[in-house]
C-alpha cells in the first residue's frame, strides 16, 4: 500500500488508483465532474487539479489533474495550495460563463453536483457579463427532459450512454463552445438504461420527466431503502414520496438508484426507474370493494363479472371474519393462492391462514417446475450464483435462451462490462491503469468471448462473438453437447449439424480455457431442459477445473424463488388446484387470492374452471386487473414502496425493503388484512390467534424464519422495529424537509403527528438519525456539501466498495445436492405445416405486469405484435406491419407482424405479458395457427 502525503498529512491508499479517487476515499473534498467511480477518468473537465511536488525540497510543485495522476508511493501533493485552488476556481468560472442562472427553476437544484462544486471552489460571484450561448433542446421521449443550455461538456452522458451502456443514438455534436449532446434528430432515447443519465449528468441537462409531473425538491422527499419489484434481479432503490399538498393522497414521486455493490452498483434500468408510477395510477385499488348482489342494468361486464361497490373496511373485514369462522366450524373450505410478486411475509401469512395443504403458488405447473429447477441447480455445490461484480469479472460467457436486456436488464449491463475484460487484460499488459478510460477503450481487438444461443438477443448483439438462433429445445441440445464436449466426449460421435458442432466445440474450448467462465440462463424460455442444460455445462466445467463455476439463472419475478421455497417439487401449481377442486364432494369454498392476476398465469378456461368452483373469491391486490372482475371482496394491498417485507432474488439473496410512505385510502399490507380478519373472528382458534397477534412486519419475518430454516437469514437481514441508534429511530425525511405544517394549512394549521411505523426502526418524519453513514437504513444519500447522489462515496468502504454498515449478502439456506445426470433429448414434436410454434419473447416495457401501468411506460409499450421468420413470412404471405390473427386453443389475438431474420424458422415470437396478450403468455411456448384477418377487420390503423 503506497503512502502519500496530502497537505502535510500522511495517508495509506490503495494501489492502482488515481489521486482523485484516493483523495475522495480519504474524505478529502476535491471537486470533479468528468470522473465517475464506475467509468474512470478521461481528464476532460480539469476540475480536480492539485499540486504535485517532486520531493520534500520542492516548494513550487506543478499542477496535475488528480483523476489522471496515478498515486505514487511517497508522493507529496497539495489540494489546498493557493495556485491549485485558484486554478479550480478559474475552471468553474469558465464553465459558468455559459451556464444559465436558472437554479431556482431547475429540477436539478438542491441535488446538483455543479452547484456543489461551485460552492466548494468558492466561486460565488460571476464576473462574466457577456451573452451566453444557447441551444435548442430535443424531445427525448417520455422519460427524460433535455435542457442543453445547462451543459458543462463533461462528456459523462455519452461516456455512460455510448461506452458503458452500448447506446448508439446519443452523441457529442459540434465542437468548441458549441458542443451539443443529443440525438441526430428528436426522438426517444433507445437504450434501456437512459434513465441513468439523470444521475450521471452532474447538472440539469438530463432530468427525470416522470418526476417533473409531480416534482418536489430532493430535500422534500421522504425516502427509505427499497427493492425494485419489476424483475428478479433485486436492484436496490431509493424511492421518494411526499404529500400531494392539495388534500389528496401522498404520491410516490420518483425512484433513484440506491447503491448496492453486489447487485445494482450505480445503475438501474429504465423499467426499474420509471415503473414506480403504477402506484399512482388510476387503476390503483385504494378502498375495500364488495360485489353487489344486483346485476347492473346495461352493464358491459361479461358473464361472471361482478359489479363492485365500496364498503367500509370494517364491513369487509367482518365478512372475511365470518368466512373464517365458518371454516373453523368445518362448514367451509378455504384455499389460498400466493404470489411471486408479493413478499415472503404476505405469502407466509396467507399460508398460515389457509394451512400448508390449502396453499397454492398461483403458477402453472410449467412455471413452478422451472423455479424448482432453478432451485435444484443452485443447490449444487459446484455451482455458484454470481453477484454483479462477479459477472463483470467473467472472461467467457455463454448465454442460453435469455434475452437479458428484457428479462434481467441490470445483468445485461454487467455482461456488457465483462465483454471488455480482454481489453482490460491487454491494458494491464501495457501497464495502462484501468481507470484511464479513454486509453483503455482505444485498445483494438476482440471482445471477451460472449456466446449467445436462444430465440432473441436485443441489446447485447454488438458484444456477442457468436449467436445461434433456434427454438429452446434445440438450444438445450446444443447446451448438452457443450457439456458433453467439456467432459471429453468425442465431437464426431454427436448428432449435430457441422456448423453447430463447430460452434459447440469452440464454446466448450473457450469456456474451459477461461479463468472466470460464466453461464447464464433462466426461466424466460419456459423450457426446463434449457435450465438443465445450463446446469450440466456449469457442473461439467466445475468437474474439469475443480473449482466451482458461475451460473446465473434469471427468474421471472421479484419473489419467484422465494415463493417456490414454500412448495415441494410437483406441488402447489394451478393444475393441481383444478384437480383438487373437481371430482370431490365439496363444502362451500372460499378462494383467497393474494396479489395475483390468475389470468396471466393460465389460459382463461383453466382460470374460469378454478373461479367457478369457488363460492367466494377474496382478492388482495394493488391494481385493478382481470381477476378483480371475478372477486366478491377486494382489499387494497400495499405496493412495495408502501410496505415492508422481504424478497428473494434470482441469486437466492434475501433482501428487505422498507415502507417509504403510507399508502393512501385504506391501503395496507396484505398480511395486515389477513391478521385483521383473524382478529375479528368470534371464535378464535389457536392457529388464528397466532395470526391475529401479528403486530409488526418483523413478527412475520421471524415466524417465517422459524417455520422455514431456508429463510433463517430473515432475522439477520435487518434490525427489528426496536433497534435504535443513540436512542433514536432513523429519519425518513432529511434535515431540510419543508412545510410540514404548511402542506395542510388550508385545512388545519396545527402541527400534526407523523405516521407511526410499527414495522421498522424508522420514523416518517425528520426526527432521528439522518446520516447515511450511520446506517444503511438511511436512503437519503446526502453529505454536507455533497447534495447530489455523487455523495455516495462518502458512505462506501473505499471507492466502489460495499456500503458502510451493509451486512450480507444473505443467501437463503439450502441443502446442497448434486444435480442428477439429466438426459436431454430432442422432445420437439414434428413440425406442422398448419401450425407455428409460438415462443415467448420479452420487452423491457410491457412484459412486466406492474410497470405496464406506469403512465410513461404505458405510453411506449408496443401494440400486440409477433416476430416471424422471413422465410415463413414469404411462405404465408405475411407483409411487415400487417395485422394477422393468432388462433390458440379456443382464443384468438390480432397481432401486428414484424418480419425478423433471427426468429427461428417455423416459430413465432410472441411478447409475454404485453397488454392485450396477457392471456396467451401462459401458453408460450405452444402451438398456434396464424390466419389472415378477415377483410372487414384489416381497415384498422395502428
Amino acid at each position: 500500500m503506497p503512502t502519500i502525503t496530502i497537505d502535510g498529512e500522511q495517508y495509506q491508499v490503495d494501489d492502482d488508483q488515481n489521486l482523485l479517487s484516493a483523495c475522495l476515499a480519504q474524505g478529502i473534498n476535491l471537486p470533479y465532474f468528468c470522473w465517475h467511480p464506475a467509468m474512470g477518468s478521461v481528464g476532460a473537465c480539469r476540475q480536480c487539479a492539485v499540486v504535485e511536488y517532486r520531493d520534500a525540497e520542492d516548494q513550487r510543485g506543478r499542477l496535475v489533474m488528480g483523476c489522471m495522476t496515478p498515486v505514487r508511493d511517497g508522493g507529496i501533493y497539495s489540494v489546498n495550495a493557493e495556485n491549485a485552488r485558484e486554478f479550480r476556481g478559474g475552471i468553474i468560472e469558465d464553465l459558468m460563463t455559459n451556464h444559465p442562472h436558472d437554479c431556482p427553476v431547475c429540477e436539478e437544484g438542491g441535488e446538483c453536483h455543479l452547484q456543489d462544486m461551485t460552492e466548494m471552489t468558492g466561486h460565488t460571484n460571476r464576473r462574466y457579463r457577456g451573452s451566453k450561448r444557447t441551444h435548442r433542446n430535443q424531445y427525448l421521449g417520455p422519460f427524460i427532459n433535455h435542457e442543453m443550455n445547462r451543459c458543462i461538456a463533461c462528456y459523462r452522458c455519452t461516456r455512460f450512454y455510448r461506452d458503458y451502456a452500448g447506446g448508439d443514438d446519443l452523441q457529442p455534436l459540434g465542437r468548441n463552445n458549441q458542443v451539443y449532446f443529443g440525438r441526430q434528430r428528436d426522438g426517444m432515447l433507445e437504450n434501456g438504461f437512459s434513465g441513468n443519465l439523470v444521475e450521471v449528468c452532474p447538472t440539469g441537462v438530463f432530468t427525470d420527466k416522470t418526476f417533473s409531473e409531480h416534482f418536489v425538491r430532493k430535500w422534500d422527499l421522504q425516502s427509505a431503502p427499497s427493492i425494485c419489484e419489476h424483475c428478479a434481479v433485486g436492484c436496490n432503490t431509493a424511492p421518494g414520496a411526499r404529500e400531494a399538498g392539495n388534500g389528496q393522497d401522498a404520491l410516490l414521486r420518483r425512484v433513484v438508484n440506491l447503491y448496492n455493490r453486489d447487485i445494482n452498483g450505480y445503475f438501474l434500468c429504465d423499467r426499474g426507474r420509471f415503473g414506480y408510477d403504477y402506484v399512482n395510477s388510476d387503476a390503483r385499488i385504494k378502498k375495500v370493494l364488495a360485489a353487489r348482489g344486483d346485476e347492473m342494468i346495461g352493464s358491459t361486464a361479461g358473464a361472471g363479472d361482478r359489479v363492485h361497490g365500496e364498503v367500509h373496511p370494517r364491513e369487509g373485514v367482518q365478512k372475511f371474519a365470518e368466512i373464517l369462522a365458518a371454516v373453523q366450524r368445518g362448514q367451509r373450505r378455504l384455499i389460498g393462492i400466493g404470489s411471486t410478486r408479493s413478499s415472503l411475509e404476505n405469502n407466509f401469512a396467507l399460508r398460515q391462514l389457509v394451512g400448508g395443504g390449502n396453499f397454492y403458488s398461483g403458477l402453472s405447473a410449467r412455471d413452478l417446475e422451472l423455479l424448482h429447477l432453478v432451485d435444484r441447480v443452485q443447490r449444487d455445490d459446484r455451482i455458484h450464483s454470481p453477484s454483479t461484480p462477479d459477472i463483470e469479472n467473467a472472461d467467457a460467457i455463454l448465454i442460453l435462451g435469455e434475452d437479458l436486456d428484457n428479462t434481467a436488464p441490470r445483468i445485461s449491463l454487467a455482461v456488457r462490462q465483462a465483454a471488455r475484460n480482454r481489453q482490460k487484460q491487454q491494458a494491464k499488459k501495457l501497464k495502462i491503469p484501468l481507470w484511464q478510460d479513454a486509453s483503455v477503450r482505444q485498445l483494438r481487438g476482440e471482445h471477451s468471448p460472449v456466446f449467445f444461443a436462444g430465440t432473441e438477443i436485443s441489446g447485447l448483439a454488438d458484444v456477442a462473438n457468436a449467436t445461434l438462433f433456434d427454438a429452446p429445445g434445440q438450444i438445450a441440445l446444443f447446451a448438452d453437447a457443450i457439456a458433453q464436449l467439456i467432459q471429453g466426449s468425442d465431437a464426431a460421435a454427436m448428432d449435430l449439424a457441422a456448423d453447430r458442432r463447430e460452434l459447440a466445440m469452440r464454446t466448450a474450448d473457450t469456456l474451459l480455457a477461461a479463468k472466470n467462465p460464466l453461464i447464464i440462463s433462466g426461466c424466460s424460455s419456459r423450457y426446463g431442459d434449457l435450465i438443465r442444460g445450463a446446469g450440466k455445462v456449469a457442473t461439467a466445467i466445475a468437474n474439469r477445473t475443480a473449482t466451482n463455476c458461475a451460473l446465473y439463472l434469471a427468474c421471472p419475478e421479484v419473489n419467484s424463488l422465494g415463493l417456490a421455497q414454500f412448495f415441494s417439487p410437483g406441488r402447489g401449481h394451478l393444475e393441481q388446484l383444478t384437480q383438487e377442486l373437481h371430482g370431490k364432494e365439496r363444502d362451500p369454498l372460499t378462494l383467497v387470492v393474494l396479489e395475483n392476476d390468475l389470468y396471466r398465469r393460465a389460459d382463461p378456461q383453466t382460470v374460469e374452471r378454478i373461479l367457478s368452483c369457488a363460492d367466494e373469491v377474496i382478492l388482495l391486490d394493488s391494481l385493478l386487473n382481470s381477476t378483480v372482475k371475478r372477486a366478491d371482496l377486494i382489499f387494497p394491498a400495499a405496493a412495495t414502496a408502501e410496505s415492508q417485507g422481504s424478497y428473494i432474488n434470482s441469486n437466492g439473496q434475501t433482501q428487505r425493503f422498507y415502507a417509504v410512505y403510507e399508502g393512501g385510502g385504506y391501503i395496507q399490507e396484505s398480511w395486515r388484512w389477513l391478521a385483521d380478519a383473524a382478529s375479528f373472528c368470534e371464535q378464535i382458534t389457536a392457529d388464528l390467534s397466532v395470526i391475529a397477534a401479528w403486530q409488526h412486519s418483523m413478527d412475520l419475518s421471524e415466524a417465517v424464519a422459524a417455520e422455514f430454516p431456508t429463510f433463517e437469514a430473515l432475522e439477520k437481514v435487518g434490525p427489528d422495529e426496536d433497534y435504535r441508534i443513540d436512542g433514536l429511530k432513523v429519519a425518513r425525511q432529511g434535515h431540510r424537509y419543508s412545510g410540514r405544517t404548511a402542506v395542510r394549512a388550508k385545512a388545519e394549521v396545527a402541527e400534526f403527528p407523523p405516521h407511526l411505523d410499527p414495522d421498522a426502526p424508522m420514523a416518517f418524519s425528520m426526527e432521528g438519525i439522518q446520516s447515511p453513514g450511520a446506517t444503511p437504513l438511511s436512503a437519503n444519500i446526502w453529505s454536507p456539501g455533497w447534495n447530489s447522489n455523487q455523495s455516495i462515496f462518502k458512505f462506501q468502504q473505499g471507492i466502489g466498495g460495499a456500503r458502510k454498515g451493509a451486512k450480507g449478502p444473505f443467501k437463503i439456506r439450502r441443502q446442497s445436492q448434486s444435480i442428477p445426470d439429466w438426459t436431454i433429448s430432442a422432445a420437439e414434436p414434428e413440425q406442422d405445416e398448419e401450425q407455428l410454434i409460438t415462443l415467448p419473447i420479452y420487452r423491457m416495457f410491457g412484459s412486466d405486469e406492474l410497470s405496464a401501468s406506469a403512465a410513461a411506460i404505458a405510453s411506449v409499450i408496443e401494440v400486440p405484435f409477433a416476430l416471424i421468420n422471413r422465410a415463413d413470412a414469404e411462405r404465408l404471405g405475411v407483409q411487415p406491419s400487417q395485422l394477422w390473427r393468432l388462433h390458440t386453443d379456443g382464443n384468438s389475438y390480432s397481432l401486428r407482424m414484424h418480419v425478423s431474420d433471427t426468429q427461428p424458422p417455423g416459430t413465432l415470437g410472441v411478447p409475454c405479458g404485453l397488454p392485450g396478450l396477457e392471456a396467451v403468455s401462459s401458453q408460450l411456448p405452444g402451438r398456434a395457427q396464424l390466419k389472415p384477418l378477415p377483410a372487414t377487420e384489416t381497415g384498422e390503423t395502428p
Binding site: H135, D168, G174, Q178, Y180, Q184, R185
Partner: protein
Amino acid sequence: MSSIFEPEVVEVMEHSKSGPNRIETRLSSKEKEEIDREFSHYEDKASVGLEALRIVQKHRGWVSDESLQAVSAYLNIPIAQLESVATYFQLIFRQPVGKEVIFLCKSASCWIMGCNRLQKKIEEKLQIKPGETTEDGIFTLLETPCLGDCDRAPVMMIGEEMHRNLTDSSIDEIIENKTLYHAEGSGHADQSAD
C-alpha cells in the same frame, strides 16, 4: 456569433421537418465507388465515415439529412455517430452553401495585415455576414483559422484556390470574376447527385 469554428449546431438539430414522407436518397454508383476505394486505407468501415462525407459533399455541394442517412446505411454506422463527425469538422457542410465558399483567414498575421477591414469590404460587397450565402446562391463567406501563408497575408481561399496579398481592389476583381464566371452559366462543381 456564427463563425466557421463554431458550426451552428442548433440549426443542425432542427430537421424533424422530414417526417414519414422523407425522400430517400441513395448514394450514386460513382459515390459508392469512391467510398469503396477508401476502405483499403482503414481498419474498419466506420473509420471511412469522414471520407465518405467528403465524397458525398464533393458531388452534392453539402451533406443533407438524406445524404447523411444514406452514408449511415451504406457504412452501417449509427447516424448519430456520423452526425457527430459531420458537425465536428468545419469543412463538412450540413447546410447548403454557395457555389463559391470563401474562407477568409482570421489568424494573427492576417489580422495585423487588415483582414478585418477586408472582411467588412466583402460583407458590404456581397451583403452577407460570415456563415451566410448570397441571394443568388453564388458566395458563402466563412472565417477560418491560419491557412499557412502568413508571409503573404492577408489571404483567403475560395474553393481550393488561394488568394494572397489581398487588397481592396484584388477582392473586387476576384469577386467580379467569379460572378461573371457563374453568370455565364457554367457551374463549377458536379451538382448532379442522382
